[in-house]
């Protein structure tokens, strides 16, 4: 049974056949292809391009986009499940995938002109090239409306100057959806979204800093020096950029929620296995309440996170407002993910601190989830602001 029917939200918590099939397929792919390579990719800061090639064959980059553009036409929840299953064993690849779909592709699909769509969507949807999204700047992090990159209209083109940082997939991307300020006096209403091609003169891609975690996910910094951009590269109208990006981030947050959920589930999977195998004091670790109760907490919080994340995805699929729920899901799942990975290390003891076991990587990866696509603090700004305004969201 479909979970959504013309704007109504089904109360069925079962997955549809299609969603269950996606879980099964991505689970198998993740175990066979991602898991064996995850440690080496982390150690060497290497994006798993071979895995990406397989993901293309499986149609994953285009999963939630219409067949018209070469996509599989599936719902958001199917895509969310794909992110979750990858993240269970390899959060870096899951992050790159989520950033490609939610941030690199979706805004062009949702807000792009026909010409922009024709130019980029087939390649993005097929995964021929990746998409990147540039909002964050050295001085505009949580305060993303503080964008300092400028776009000045000069005849038939804009002149872009500025810098962006922490941009996922930049090394492999052809299209970069970015924001720039067209009219500082207007503040957030002066911010405009545009799509810049990797080959655009005046646009430079600089390798990113070494990271704590998510090291198998590529990130770069972007520099614009008198970069000339044709007027038709605007995404939406001038001044609509901030609203466009906020809508994009609403969806992106569900995917980071799914990423968090997957990491938490992966940590629980591993800790559970270890706790039943490792013997201390004459019995398996799981025979000690101190350990089994940790597992119980991890299981409870992972369930809660899954319900929140899936709920936000189902609201989106039903065409209902979901920004409030996406913020809640992202906030809760990422914090639960921190707790789960932290405790998984504790259950493994010394081995948890060893890079031969995956849980230390999970704990490093987890910290990205409370920071990227809006820190926990930004989620709390959104959630509390909605509450105080009395905004009734999808609920």
């Amino acid at each position: 049974m479909a979970s959504t029917l013309n704007g109504t939200l089904a109360s069925n918590f079962d997955l549809t056949e299609e969603q269950a099939m996606i879980r099964e397929m991505v689970r198998r792919f993740s175990l066979e292809t991602l898991a064996p390579a995850a440690r080496a990719c982390d150690e060497h800061h290497r994006f798993n391009t071979e895995a990406w090639a397989q993901m293309r064959e499986m149609g994953l980059p285009g999963l939630p986009f219409p067949e018209q553009w070469g996509g599989a036409g599936m719902d958001s929840l199917s895509y969310i499940i794909a992110v979750e299953e990858m993240a269970r064993v390899d959060a870096s690849t899951a992050l790159s995938y989520a950033a490609h779909v939610s941030l690199g592709t979706w805004p062009i699909y949702a807000f792009g002109s026909e010409a922009l769509k024709q130019r980029y969507l087939p390649g993005l949807v097929s995964g021929e090239f990746m998409g990147a999204y540039g909002l964050t700047e050295p001085n505009a992090g949580s305060d993303s409306a503080g964008t300092q990159t400028t776009a000045v209209l000069q005849g038939d083109h804009y002149l872009i100057n500025g810098a962006k940082c922490f941009i996922t997939n930049g090394t492999y991307a052809k299209s970069f959806v970015i924001t720039a300020q067209c009219d500082r006096a207007k503040g957030a209403k002066g911010i405009t979204a545009m799509v810049i091609d990797r080959d655009q003169p005046g646009f430079q891609i600089v390798p990113g800093e070494e990271k704590l975690g998510m090291r198998g996910s590529d990130w770069v910094n972007l520099v614009f020096q008198d970069c000339k951009l044709p007027k038709d590269a605007l995404l939406g109208a001038e001044g609509e950029g901030f609203a466009t990006f906020m809508k994009t981030l609403d969806g992106g947050r569900i995917s980071i929620g799914a990423l968090s959920l997957g990491i938490a589930q992966g940590a629980l999977d591993y800790a559970l296995k270890y706790a039943t195998e490792r013997q201390q004091f004459g019995k398996p670790l799981a025979g000690h309440q101190a350990v089994s109760f940790k597992l119980a907490d991890m299981e409870t919080e992972t369930h809660a996170a899954r319900h929140l994340v899936y709920h936000a995805a189902r609201l989106k699929d039903a065409g209902r407002p979901f920004g409030h729920e996406a913020a809640i899901a992202k906030y809760y799942a990422s914090e639960a993910c921190m707790r789960a990975t932290y405790e998984a290390i504790q259950i493994l003891g010394g081995n948890g601190f060893s890079r031969e076991y995956p849980v230390e990587r999970m704990y490093r990866d987890a910290k990205l989830c409370t920071i990227g696509e809006g820190t926990s603090e930004v989620q709390k700004i959104i959630i509390s602001r909605d509450l105080l305004r009395g905004v009734q969201q999808g609920s």
Binding site: Q280, Y342, S354
Partner: protein, 370 residues
Amino acid sequence: MIRASAREFADRTLRPHAARLDAEERFPEEALREAAAAGFLGLTVPEAYGGAGLGNLHCAILLEEINAADASVGVTLSVHISLMCSMLAKHGSEEQKRRWLPRLASGELLGAYCLTEPQAGSDAAALRAAAKRVDGGWRLTGTKSWITSATHAGLFVVYALSDAAAKKGYGITTFLVPADAKGLKVGKKEEKMGIRASSTTELILEDVFVPDTDVIGKVNEGFKIALDTLDGGRIGIGSQALGIHRACLDASVKYAKERRQFGKPIGEFQAIAWKLADMATELDAARLLVHRAAWLRDQGLPCTKECSMAKVFSSRACNRAAQEAVQIHGGAGYTKEFAVERHYRDARITEIYEGATDIQRLVISRSLLK
């Protein structure tokens, strides 16, 4: 005075190199030479044996300062001072002390401590390394794991099972084994999340001969020495947690003043300011617990429960602080450009080694319930 000199030493000698040594997983040989020259390696060794003759409280202050700059050097020093020098000064024979302590105090020899085995982690008394009685001494065979400094140590404390038939915990003996003993081999290197510049390996004993004169304390009573020594070790790791915690707080305060978002320094937002307040409060609470345990031990008073409380609280507080420090730094804190990235990785071990939190809770609750 020890705080001022240790801080000056840490700022000058350790902090500038900590990130590079971490990235390269390179043992801090130069730093240890300088620490030896500063007299830190013999801090707790009695003056009669060439040390400074100071106690646990001084050691706690030294280790906090060292760890605030470089936790890899911190753990190396903690093992050398608490688990080797202080242990030998307390439990060694006069002959053993005369023979080894001056060389440990001067830094000629670095100490390592071998209790943990692959199948005996939290359940340390389940160790299986065997000590076989032979003419004039013992022959040791077994594998020890997670041994700090084994690659560079000149002297090892090794626990082995001398009476396999005894009740658990009662057939263990403590041995001193010099690095050049025949049959002693360094095994697999551990690749760790943090404290990467410290050396952590397996230690393999293959029929290693130890003369009777190198048995510490009484035969079959080694586990008591282990437990007593771990009390001191817990003060050491508690102090390590204090150092990492303070580094996180200092970095966060600095960043919260400098970093502007929404038109003001982020420290002016309650969300950030309250985090700083909690980090500072918990640091003080942790320091008081660690220093109380150190003071009790210096007075020769019972302190097992207090050492466990200090270790469990300080290590957990340290990890909370490390998580919040990265959070306050945001995306920047997720990169190696800021030291909090390293602190986040280093902090995690403090809740695991020298008795995991679960073991500390076992110790504390048992003393409540007995």
